[in-house]
């Protein structure tokens, strides 16, 4: 005799325990500390902060630990935490020309004021497994060049490539909006279409790196050809300033590490605009170059309509990109298929049986006699 399924609660409680065990692994192996994750899995921490929209390496590391290394799950944890935080104010716009740079490269100019600074990058590593790491070896030497640090701390040393091009009038300019109005906050209000560029950039900044990478890649393979050049990628720390209402002037509240990408794209010109270069913009917390580059390509592709280009590829369609970029939304909805669907499935079962029994059934469904149906 069938007994209605019971015990869901017990099952959930037990699954918590199993999950804890899985996360901890073999207890004879020392437990990971948050500091270790923060220090030794920096790029994972940076991605979780970027897509989790919270600059807090410690909490990001905690989320990674709790999520057993699943970064999308860690991003979810951080976002859920963020949702309940009060909004204290908006910072002043970041001045990335005043960044203290750790890395700065331009693919458009061989040399430029401030120079090319390779910095820490996997770009020119040879991707051979380093078996010395198996033996937990420490790096053989560290760089501590006082000249390098002096350069880094000379704030006005490295103007942005975009600003250099700007002097010739060859690249589009964006006028800062008057009175610096409070930007639309897509974490407080739902996105409506058409979405303005600042809203789109917010969405892309929080968007899943894998999704943006694929979208950006598609623009390079003929689905919205945007002829991009890396004007500049810069990695470093930048000051955050806030004007408290009671003071009325800006005070610095600290530095954050960011990656900024300015992509330069050809533009043939239109009836109103002369031929010039246009821009795509990417910004991410920490060291997140792949993300910042993908973001800048997609940002530019999404400007197609504004620039009078033909909109025919997914990467150029704001509703397509912005509605599917968020890993929480995508992961949640894809994985909700694990939830029970007995009722809907029962309804579909009835329907399919009815269709097979029906005289009007289509040839594709007509493979055998209807003696299987339940009636």
């Amino acid at each position: 005799m069938y007994v209605a399924v019971k015990g869901g609660e017990q099952a959930i409680l037990s699954s918590y325990q199993l999950l804890d065990q899985q996360r901890r692994g073999d207890p004879s192996v020392p437990e990971l500390s948050i500091v270790q994750i923060r220090q030794q899995m920096k790029l994972a921490v940076d991605r979780v902060m970027t897509e989790g929209s919270v600059f807090d390496p410690e909490l990001a590391a905690l989320a990674i630990k709790q999520a057993c290394g699943d970064l999308v799950e860690a991003i979810f944890l951080l976002r859920a935490y963020r949702a309940t935080l009060p909004r204290l104010g908006s910072t002043q716009p970041l001045d990335t020309s005043k960044m203290v740079l750790d890395r700065r490269i331009s693919a458009t100019f061989k040399d430029l004021p401030g120079g090319q600074v390779l910095g820490p990058t996997y770009d020119y590593t040879q991707r051979l497994l380093d078996f010395s790491l198996l033996a937990m070896s420490e790096p053989s030497s560290t760089i501590d060049d006082p000249n390098l640090r002096a350069q880094r701390e000379d704030e006005n040393f490295s103007p942005r490539v975009i600003d250099l091009l700007n002097r010739e009038g060859l690249i589009e300019t964006h006028q800062a909006t008057q009175n610096d109005p409070t930007p639309f906050d897509l974490t407080r209000q739902p996105v409506r279409f058409p979405a303005d560029r600042s809203t789109r950039l917010q969405n892309l900044a929080r968007g899943d790196e894998g999704f943006l990478l694929a979208m950006a890649y598609s623009t390079q393979r003929g689905y919205a050809n945007s002829h991009p050049f890396v004007g500049e990628i810069r990695l470093g720390s930048v000051e955050i300033a806030l004007i408290p209402e009671e003071l009325g002037f800006a005070i610095s509240i600290g530095d954050i590490e960011i990656t900024e990408c300015q992509m330069i794209n050809q533009f043939a010109g239109s009836k109103t605009e002369p031929p010039q270069f246009t821009r795509g913009y990417g910004l991410a917390f920490g060291h997140s170059e792949r993300k910042a580059m993908a973001m800048s390509l997609v940002d530019r592709a999404l400007r197609a309509a504004e620039l009078g280009e033909l909109v025919q590829s997914p990467a150029q369609m704001p509703e397509f990109v912005l509605s599917h970029s968020d890993s929480l939304e995508a992961s949640g909805f894809v994985q909700h298929l694990k939830l029970p669907h007995y009722v809907d499935f029962q309804s579909e079962l009835e329907l399919v049986r009815k269709m097979r029994a029906s005289p009007l059934q289509t040839p594709t469904l007509n493979d055998e006699s209807g003696d299987e149906h339940a009636e």
């Binding site: 069938y2 918590y16 325990q17 949702a83 029962q346």
Partner: protein, 314 residues
């Protein structure tokens, strides 16, 4: 009669210590902060004022995943008060894992009374079913909605569907139903069957079986719909006309079963098919577990009569 669980099993105690009960004190009543609740209540009021219209709202990232009931949870969290009695069902049952999980969430964050009995509840959060027992004016039913836009599968662009709603231009939907008839001889939509609310807006009733659609019509309870991922709230106020779309010659009709419920003998409730062995054996049982239980109890108390005393709902 209420299943309020004040005593914890040893396992629960363990899990509570694991989850660190102090954490619960870090959150406001029903988790959301009061400003967020107010924002959601405003959206609900607008939704009630324009029955069937999808009101955009600033959906928050909840501690449960999008697609798992975050819209319903946010609506429940903004209307729930300490004196409410909450029932949470999924597929008609109080004991499916996601219903259990959502109920636990509200137990942890509100400590309100919990029930599995439809008539004892003041708030019912549901996924995919409307209880068989008729609702009353004192109740609010909150639907979890995955896709609030009834035309999304026909026209994925929100800008387009928004203007179709604005113009009350629902030809697209009627053509879809007509094509079903032309192809299959009947309308081939079995759940999330589109309805016209208050003679104005076509609305997705959420993926309830079309069997449940007639229960929405002129229902005395307030019906609220929350779609967290899609950031929309809509409503059907009490005693509002809800008409399932159809044609004069091919009217809307609901599913019927040839067999009664194996457990309670009901012929009036939505039945789930349960496979009992690998030789094709199957039985049908009520999807609404509380209804089924009360039918069984009634049958026992009324001198062994097996005739169900279920409510008619047409």
């Amino acid at each position: 009669m209420l299943n309020k669980s004040k005593t914890s099993t040893p396992l629960e105690k363990l899990v509570d210590s694991h989850e660190n009960q102090a954490v619960d004190q870090h959150f406001n009543f029903a988790y959301l902060d009061e400003r967020t609740k107010r924002m959601i209540r405003r959206a609900i009021l607008k939704a009630v004022a324009i029955p069937g219209y999808q009101v955009p709202f600033g959906s928050r990232e909840m501690p449960l995943p999008y697609g798992w009931g975050t819209g319903g949870i946010q609506v429940t969290a903004s209307v729930i008060g300490p004196s409410d009695v909450l029932k949470v069902i999924d597929q008609g049952s109080d004991d499916t894992v996601n219903a259990v999980n959502i109920r636990r969430f509200f137990q942890r964050t509100t400590n309100v009374e919990i029930t599995t009995q439809t008539q004892a509840a003041t708030l019912i959060q549901t996924r995919h079913r409307i209880p068989e027992m008729a609702l009353t004016e004192d109740q609010i039913i909150i639907y979890q909605v995955p896709v609030p836009e009834p035309m999304q599968r026909l026209e994925p662009r929100e800008r387009e569907t928004r203007s179709l709603h604005g113009l009350a231009e629902y030809g697209l939907m009627h053509v879809k139903l007509y094509e079903d008839i032309a192809r299959y001889g009947h309308i081939a939509t079995t759940y999330d069957y589109p309805v016209l609310v208050n003679h104005r807006y076509v609305m997705a009733p959420s993926p309830i079986p079309k069997f449940d659609n007639p229960k929405m019509h002129m229902n005395p309870a307030l019906q609220l719909f929350g779609a967290g991922r899609e950031k929309r709230i809509y409503a059907v106020p009490p005693y509002t006309a809800v008409e399932s779309l159809g044609f004069e010659d091919y009217p809307f009709e609901i599913q019927r079963w040839d067999a009664p419920c194996e457990l309670c003998g009901s012929r009036d409730s939505f039945l789930d098919e349960v496979i009992t062995n690998d030789q094709g054996g199957r039985i049908f049982v009520c999807s609404d577990s509380d209804y089924c239980e009360s039918q069984q109890n009634d049958a026992e108390s009324s001198s062994g009569s097996t005739t169900p005393s279920g409510l008619k709902h047409d």
